[in-house]
């Protein structure tokens, strides 16, 4: 069990990060803390995707030099290279996450201008 935990430590970090973010999103009272939690949550997913791309035995970035192409002719050994697709997906996901962060902060500013506080319970008191 311990060996499994050490061998797959990146996945454990992803789970722990995700739980921290999840807790902050649900339980924190301050809206900015919720936004920070949301960001941690999303970053954990990036870590997860990047972990998927990993291959054992020293696989590297899929950049082909002229020497590689000559050596391999037409068949390229995919086991030598990590999978680039999850990285590409995460580029898109990062863009989405930045956009979400922007909208969340804009709404938080709007709330602050209106109620002069970012504590959720105080805003709810004003609203009732």
């Amino acid at each position: 069990m311990l060996e499994l935990m050490i061998a797959k430590y990146n996945y454990w970090i992803y789970i722990i990060l995700m739980m921290i973010g999840f807790y902050a999103m649900i339980a924190k009272n301050n809206l900015i803390k919720k936004v920070i939690g949301m960001n941690i949550f999303q970053t954990a997913i990036i870590l997860f995707y990047i972990s998927i791309a990993f291959k054992k035995d020293g696989a590297t970035l899929p950049i082909l030099t002229a020497a590689d192409v000559h050596a391999a002719h037409d068949a390229i050994n995919t086991a030598q290279y990590i999978n680039p697709l999850p990285h590409v997906l995460m580029l898109t996901a990062i863009v989405v996450m930045v956009a979400t962060l922007g909208v969340a902060l804009a709404i938080a500013i709007m709330i602050y201008r209106k109620y002069h506080t970012l504590e959720e319970d105080e805003i709810l008191k004003v609203l009732k």
């Binding site: 919720k34 997860f48 998927i52 996901a93 979400t100 709404i107 709007m110 709330i111 609203l127």
Partner: protein, 496 residues
């Protein structure tokens, strides 16, 4: 040439028009409105063309940039999402026509940006429905959600907080979906839905696939406001500007149900959900609880829009429960109910928008004498209300009838009780409004004696025409429901 490209045009036209919209608004503010209507009209025409071709020649496949699947992104339009495309583009076109006067009154200084986000929102909806790629679906889901948060946040007092809460929960939902995609990619190395449905059956024993399925289901349930996860919905849709709630409320939840059908029946096979996993029992339970909870909470509301929001929660229960019954009749009913519910909810929120335009309030207590003031609006309202209750020949009756038939086939009596209970509650809900609006005459108007002299103050024509159109569509869909079932819905039902 153009005809081949129609599938992509459905999404690209509104996307480009959304980007150009602020420029046009910068030139001349009032041009934004015709621009929005025009772009959505073009998109609607394309979706009708595509649906026509699907009905005649079967599913349409469109490969973006001619990259072959499973490597490239593929747009697949079959009967189910062909229907959804027409629904989304058609109803958003109606809302766009309807929107002008209401926006001028509620948000005069945000006219240009409202329309920009409005078109983006529709782009997101159309993209979710049209795509055949699970990751592309996530991107469009986020486009639609982000536009939705922005549209909700500019509403009345309390809207920013409602929008913020929706944002937090919506992000959790979307991230769960993304995690599901990750787990599936981990074991299959593919993101194309058709490709996945070929690879996955061999892996149904794998725990990774089951985790992915669970993440998908929870994420989508958050987006569709299935009962215990509905907490964001009432606040968000009550406090949003009336045009935004007439766009979001009918479509967002129904699109999430579409995504659930896609994931359950296209990406995974029905055999996984109903054979290996007890999804049928879970969905039936969730559906029945949602129907009861939604109906009872709707009864407790004093605000018109808030009441409608809880009706949506109950309606989501209909569809989830109907799919959970796991037989062809019930799923047919559930898919037909998606169609009907979009139209009915659109009608209700259009009426709510007109009332809050005229009365500056959507509280039920202010509805006194409303039937005399706005006879045409309330006639449309009555049609929609009868349809939600389920009175023939309105469309709501037929989908409910199919759902009841389906639960008889499945031998599930509790679901029938839930459906009938919800119909009864709907009768009470709408007759309460009729009682307030028809029989309670405003005292300041001089009581019953002078009631006949109440001036008719109808809504502006641009708001009234779409609302009445919706009411007419409700009757037409009800009358022609057989041809819709035969030509479209029966092909959308998966082989169980």
């Amino acid at each position: 040439m153009i005809v081949e490209q129609t599938p992509i045009l459905i999404v690209v036209i509104p996307l480009m028009c959304a980007l150009i919209c602020p420029l046009i608004g910068w030139l001349k503010r009032d041009l934004c409105y015709p621009w929005t209507v025009l772009s959505l009209l073009a998109s609607a025409v394309c979706s009708f063309v595509v649906l026509g071709s699907v009905i005649q020649n079967g599913p349409v496949h469109y490969h973006l940039g001619s990259w072959m699947p499973p490597w490239g992104i593929e747009y697949v339009i079959d009967h189910l999402n062909g229907m959804m495309l027409v629904l989304i583009s058609g109803s958003s076109l109606l809302v766009a026509i309807y929107s002008k006067e209401s926006i001028e009154q509620e948000l005069p200084d945000k006219f240009v940006y409202f329309y920009t986000i409005f078109i983006l929102q529709v782009t997101g909806f159309l993209g979710i429905v049209i795509t055949g790629d699970v990751f592309n679906l996530y991107v469009f889901l986020e486009i639609a959600s982000l536009a939705g948060y922005a549209l909700i946040a500019i509403g009345e007092d309390g809207a920013p907080l409602a929008s913020f809460r929706y944002l937090v929960l919506g992000t959790i939902g979307a991230c769960f979906y993304l995690l599901g995609v990750g787990y599936i990619y981990m074991v299959t190395g593919s993101l194309n839905m058709a490709d996945l449905s070929g690879i996955l059956p061999k892996l149904y024993g794998s725990r990774v696939v089951l985790v992915a399925f669970a993440f998908f289901m929870v994420g989508i349930a958050l987006k569709m406001a299935l009962f215990p996860l509905h907490v964001w919905l009432p606040d968000a849709y009550t406090k949003a500007p009336s045009v935004a709630s007439s766009l979001l409320a009918p479509l967002m939840t129904k699109i999430a149900i579409y995504v659930m059908i896609r994931i359950m029946f296209t990406v995974f096979r029905p055999y996984l959900s109903f054979g290996l996993l007890p999804m049928s029992q879970i969905m039936l339970f969730a559906g029945i609880v949602a129907i009861f909870a939604g109906a009872i909470m709707a009864l407790a509301q004093t605000d018109f829009k808030r009441m409608l929001c809880y009706i949506i929660v109950a309606e989501v229960g209909y569809m989830v429960g109907g799919i959970g019954l796991a037989n062809a009749v019930a799923i047919k009913g559930a898919i037909l109910h998606i169609l009907n519910d979009v139209i009915m909810t659109l009608g209700l929120f259009c009426v709510a928008g007109i009332i809050s335009y005229k009365m500056k309030s959507h509280n039920l207590a202010d509805f006194k004498g409303i039937f005399r003031k706005m006879p045409l609006t309330m006639a449309a309202f009555l049609t929609v209300a009868l349809s939600i209750i389920g009175v023939p020949p309105t469309c709501g009756f037929f989908s409910k009838w199919l759902l009841i038939q389906g639960s008889v086939v499945a031998g599930n009596w509790i679901f029938i009780v839930a459906l009938l209970f919800s119909s009864l509650i709907n009768i009470i809900l709408f007759f309460r409004i009729i009682e307030i609006g028809y029989y309670n005459i405003d005292e300041s108007g001089g009581g019953h004696g002078q009631a006949a002299t109440t001036v008719i103050e109808e809504a502006p024509v641009s708001m009234l025409v779409p609302t009445i159109t919706v009411a007419v569509i409700i009757l037409l869909v009800g009358i022609y429901n057989q041809s819709i079932l035969i030509n479209i819905v029966q092909f959308a039902v998966p082989k169980l």
